[in-house]
Amino acid sequence: MHLVETYALNSGLTIDRPFIYQKYFPVPFDKYILIHAGGGFSSKFYDYYNEVIAILQPILKEYGIEVMQTGGDKDPPLNGIVDLRGKSDLHQTAFLIKKASLVIGNDSCIVHLADALDTPVIALYGPTRPSNSGPFFGPPEKKILIESDRGGNMPSFSYQEDPKTINYIKPEEVAKAALKLLNIDKKVTRETLYIGSDFNSPILDVVMDTIISPEAFPGAILNARMDLDFNEERLAQNLSIRPFTILTDKEIPLQVIETFRRNIAGILYQIKQGYSTEFIKNLTHNGIKYGLWTYLEEETLGQVKLDFFDYGLIDIKKKMSKESLENHEKMTTSTLYKTNKFLLSGDKIYLNEIDWKNKKPIESFEKNVNPIDLKDPDFFSDASHYYIFNE
């Protein structure tokens, strides 16, 4: 049953059209679509609108249609589109919606507004069902409601999900729906094969043969990859000018820790044979946040667990391989991957450790789409940061 129907029935009332006051807002474009990436709670947020935009934007450009983002200023930001987050109030947003050619959004008030204002709408559903809370009033031909298959499960109705079922919806599904409602007769050639759980978190790793100036990447906290090049001197130089998270499998000298305590955002310590609990103890005494993780097998961890008992849980990770990924049988040499994890070394940018070892840098951060590497099995150990697709 739909929410509105429940209200009506419980109150003994009948349903008419809803009402919203629209207030003028200057719109710089004649034709545009709106994307709304926020909503009531995080399990309703679709995380891959950027990929939808990447597919749609070149096509929409041909038709002179702009893409804009509405929503609160705390909504996740989207790439390369006009950002109106926090700029329009609710009534101005209603005005924007009324004038829009299409609204794409999560299960949220914005979707109901679009529906009520007769604007074509695409809404995405994970933890909830469109039959309970979907747009209720407008004609069916003006809305496409995309419901995740949730891996065969029921909706969780939960504020938090891990993994988020709404993300099972593929970006190309949303893009295709958009072209359909816009009456644009263009084919979407993208086939999403796999999206890693960390793909959306941009990461900047720095090999410690490099010094990063404090002006570069303002506000970002970079990772010092001491596990790739254990260069204490360079680490100290870097820490003296900007904050870093340190990734290491060896003890960082106490002196460095004490001197640059304020610029150490945290330490990720990989436990290997020959680990040091004394190191972690020193970190606690210096008030430095840390995480513990290992590739060692669970069965061999008895003594390790006893040693680290007072220092928090150890994240026991398994190395990812191609075979562990869904749709791996569809991956060929022409399959592409995109990543937001970059490795900086010298003045070059690399997409992963293998490229760094083979000295195969990319030209710029924007050139982060490349064919996958089927030769080196280690390529897939970073798969949680990849978006893999056929085009």
Partner: protein, 702 residues
Amino acid sequence: MRKKKILFHSNHCLSKTGFGRHSRAILTYLYNTGKYEICEYATGLSWNDPRCKATPWKCHGVMPTDQRELFYLVQPDGKKNEPLERLVHYGYHNIDKIIKQEKPDVYIGVEDIWAFLSYWDKKWWNKVHTVIHTTLDSLPILPVAVDIAPKIKHYYVWAKFAEEALHKLGHKHVKTLHGAIDTSLFYRLSPNERNELRFKNQIPQDAFIIGYVFRNQLRKSVHKLLEAFVEFSKRNPKVNGYLLLHTFWEEGWDIPRYIKEFNIPNEKVLTTYVCRHCRNYDVRPFTERDINCRFCGMEATPQFSHNPFFDNRRTGMLTTSTNYGITEHQLNEVYNLMDIYVHPFTSGGQEIPVQEAKLTELITLVTNYSCGEEYTTPESGGLPLDWDEYREPDSQFIKATTKSYSIVKNLEKVINMKEKNRREMEKRARQFVLDNCSVEVVGREYEKLIDNFSPVEWDFDFTEPPKNPKYPMPDIPDNLEWIQDLYKNILKMKDEKGEEYWMKELERGIPRQQIYEFFIETAKRENAQNADFDIEKLFDKEGKDKRILYVMPQSIGDCFLSTSLFKSIKELHPECNLYVATQPQYFSIFSANPYVHKVVPYVPQMDDEMQMAGHGTHKGFVKVLYTPFFSTQRQLNYLSKDKIDLCLTKPSKDYAGGTSDPSTLKTETPTTQQRETPTFTLPTATLTAGTLCPTLHQEQTV
């Protein structure tokens, strides 16, 4: 030979309670022998809590992981049942599950005695080697701990005074085994290091520091110590006395108020602050607010928050608590700031701080009651504090109020001791704990005990043979044979005492029919108790998607009115079976109802749409759930609405009715008749559900 399997039931190793620290010490000891397969059954955690992964041995929490399951467990009849909730938190719910899963040779329960209530009646109790190691802190001994003594073969208590009391009551098999403490963590630092510590904490070198480490404040006589401190300072003006109260100041007693009341200068009362951020500690005079950290510079929250335990937003340094405490290493330093240790308490099971203080070679002044009796003997390096008895309301237990003059007297005794005698006594204090409470000593006792047990053959199963409540009354002339036949065929058991009892009842002239009925009732009740309750079993095997459940817990009239809705349900879902849930006394109202597939007993889980119809990975049990009683029986939502704008009745020749008044309906469809003249032709005959409420049946398409 296979390793013996131990199921160890206590607080989780990571918890900083007395039981938790004991568990950690003992399990680490047993694990390191390499001789056993260990499974920890941890109170305080849920079955699959991530913290279970912290231990190198297997571990499960005692509580169900699913919060909804827990919710229904502790309120089976819709009302919160506190005794049951306590049992569930102690592990009652999952104990059979884990015994079945792990099939241990040895079960060791280290908890308050009421954690094990009813375990001794369980079928596995005497199959597995069961050991109970419990704390009893007051006299007279808790009745339940006495009553069950004969049923616990290996019964250990944490303190001698409890052993003695149980022996006096005739339970000679009860033994004392102290809680284990990791003695390597606490030791006396060298004089230089001790001086340096005082320097670091800005404490005068000549200070005479009287220390007290405590939590669970209401069981500690803090005010007596403050009173004694005043008197001691007055009588010994040359001694530069300080109190060091290592405690969480927002729990229990209003200590600042006592300090004012006794006119003690603030700077004379030290306490331990710990930084929320860097976890450094600082021993300094107590101020009634959080302070800035002088190590990492983190500033204290400006507004003092009075939500002490759960406010994670507080910053800077706070007094130590179990949530934000210091490490054992740091605590050892705190003890090393002290010159003497005083522990006035009402009663207690172990009082770990006394042991820790002794390990750091401090003379301990302890109330001479409960577990304190052992800490105050000359060979333990302690001195006894006199006390007065009071009775605790409710429990009627004897509790101690420590006499402050006794604290003063004993403090003076120590400061007047010759240095050599004092050092000897301090060293004895440490030796006492090493000999009696160290993990090596206690662990070895556990080890010896376990090694003496034979492995358990797991050839038995847990299922009780079902009783037979349908057995017809036998026709046997002899009374005894008749009784024996009832036992054998109805209750499927032998019970000589029971036979004796029933023989007497028969002699008293109780008719056979009554006794027979009692057996039948007992059989029915026990079958119901033994059955694993499973909602799925209420339904036939047609599958979830073919079931509709209509719930109306009570009562007969509501059930009857409900039958008017069933035709509509069947029309909407012709392929589904309609189940109706209510209490058994109302079942008959649905007899022969053509729409009702089956009537099932109402259980509280049925209130929960997500539980019944599914969510996430939980598939649920029914396709559609109707719980209309919510707005008529739970949260009333109908009484004041005299008029409604809906037509909810169908055109029918059989009846007319409803709240809707056609004259008020905002519809353009003309109404044919007014409500005042109801006839068998419905007033809203032209208004079908379809025209009036088009949305009600509109399918939302994706």
